[in-house]
């Protein structure tokens, strides 16, 4: 199996009952690319991530990884390739941090964790700076720490494709920056594909190589951040007025409405 994968999403459609959550979604991602998924709530970001993670099955369309249809891969194989981090992480019974991260090795393990597995778990925890929490219970750590633990889990899984659903939305500014920086670094170094949904447009500006802007289940625009995140698109999709500023880097300022205050 090639170590670098190309992702190709072709004409994907997902329906919940009669409601079309995604339609005619199509794009390609090359290895080493950090993709930001943007759009208002209900645009279909989570749905798209879940589809690529094979949690949802498309009614129409195919997704290819290196030319192979992902639906034809077996569960274990796919789990070694794709890591998914959902928006909400509720754990029924609290385990210790080390155990949570070690779950990332599940696709590789039959019963016993090998020395290699353990090394990878520790390095993942070090990468997200949660190694000092290893033997604490996950219910006792802060929200930010918990998120970093989850990211460590994904890293321990050593996937080729990272699918992250709003991984930094509830974190402190420092962690927002540090984690995205880390993910981008890892993506570039290991030539992974990362697709992250974000709520903050400016973070996308800062860290993403490409942006996919979604509205109502359709891809509204796709391309480099400065190409996609122009005021016209923002107005269309988010229904607010915005100005592009540049100090020292490009960022978006949301304007007030003329009415009201």
């Amino acid at each position: 199996m090639n170590s670098h994968l190309k992702l190709k999403v072709m004409d994907v459609e997902i329906c919940y009952g009669s409601y079309k959550a995604l339609s005619r979604v199509e794009f390609e991602v090359s290895p080493g690319e950090f993709i930001a998924l943007l759009g208002p709530n209900g645009a279909g970001k989570t749905t798209l991530l879940k589809t690529i993670a094979r949690i949802l099955k498309p009614r129409k369309g195919v997704i290819y990884l290196n030319g192979k249809n992902i639906m034809e891969m077996n569960d274990r194989e796919y789990a070694k390739i794709t890591g998914y981090l959902p928006q909400i992480n509720d754990m029924s019974t609290p385990m210790r941090v080390f155990e949570v991260v070690s779950m990332g090795r599940k696709p590789y393990v039959t019963w016993q964790l090998t020395k290699e597995d353990i090394n990878k778990i520790w390095s993942a925890m070090k990468t997200t700076e949660v190694d000092y929490l290893a033997f604490r219970s996950i219910s006792e750590v802060s929200g930010g720490e918990r998120q970093r633990v989850m990211i460590a889990r994904i890293l321990a899984q050593e996937p080729k494709v990272l699918l992250l659903d709003e991984p930094v939305t509830h974190l402190d500014l420092k962690y927002q920056r540090d984690i995205l920086k880390l993910i981008r670094k890892v993506t570039r170094e290991r030539k992974l594909i990362t697709i992250t949904s974000l709520h903050d447009i400016n973070l996308a500006f800062r860290f993403a190589d490409k942006v996919i802007l979604m509205k109502k289940g359709l891809i509204y625009a796709i391309g480099k951040p400065e190409e996609v995140l122009v005021p016209e698109n923002i107005r269309e999709v988010f229904e607010v007025n915005a100005i592009l500023a540049n100090n020292p880097r490009p960022f978006i300022v949301i304007e007030d409405d003329t009415e009201g205050d």
Binding site: N89, T93, M95, F135
Partner: protein
Amino acid sequence: MKINATPFFSFKRILLISSLFLAIIPVSFLSIAIGAYNLPISDVVKCLLNPHGENPAIIAYTIVWFYRIPRTIGALITGAVLAVAGALIQGITRNPLASPFTLGVSSAASFGAGLVIIAGVKLALLPQVFLQTPEGYMIITLAAFTICFLHTLLILTLLFIKGFSPESIVLAGIAMAYMYSAGITFLEYFAGESSLKEYIFWIMGDLTRVNWGKIYFLLATLLITILAVYLFAWDLNALSLGDDVAKSLGVDPRKLRFKVAFMASLTTATVISITGPIPFICIMAPHIARLIIGSDNRYLLPTSIAIGSILLTISDIIARTALKPIELPVGAVTNALGASFFISMYMSIKKGKVMSI
């Protein structure tokens, strides 16, 4: 934390588990030594060391080998099977208070037994005196197991169609339990006096029903249970991170829940068809195990085996010595233990934390 901490961490746990398993030995010995017939310990030891005793007519041998040992083995195995089944169901429903009984297995078994004990006699299909013979007893066991089996198939098929969410599992179990309750009430109302008494004794759960012939079934069930531990521990850990995450780790939640529920229900059905439904071990043992060793199923499930065995064997010892020579049904003791256990758990709830390690 250094890397070397990891082996130490799991070493500590392995040590804990081993000592728990070792504790089974003195508990079993106690169970063999204590009973209504007072046997001096030296005699007990002699009997144990000499399985094909010189003279089978000597009463100590008979008591040890035909009353105490089958009963003890029965308690150990039943406790183990029930404990693991409880832990498995708790894993797939993400509810630390669930058990196979939540799926309705005990109601089904009781109903099956009731059909034979009450309806079979009432409709003159079986002479009542037959039920007190060993063959009659086997029929009760078979009926209970058959109803359990059919019930398991039915409920799992229904759930599979509906997607097997944790909530649907609990709901389905409750619905079926009410259905059986209706059937059982109906039977109880029309039962003759002595049928009713027999029936009530049966549903209290009783380990004296285990004899050497039945131990083979129990052993088979134990082996299946151990197999289940090996097969499902990692998958259940993945499941506890959430259905979506589990899927991304390569686990199909629906299929897993089906397989686990099926195995847990069947192993439980087998043991309770023989002994009658014994309450609370399914919930208490995994709980205690979780408090000792944490929620990682790789350790939790084996620990549940040890704790379940010990707990049930001790309950059985209490059941037969509390009111010597009256034999209490072991279910009465586990009920009492369960009640006090949960009361003490309730008392120790700290604000905000319910079940932390």
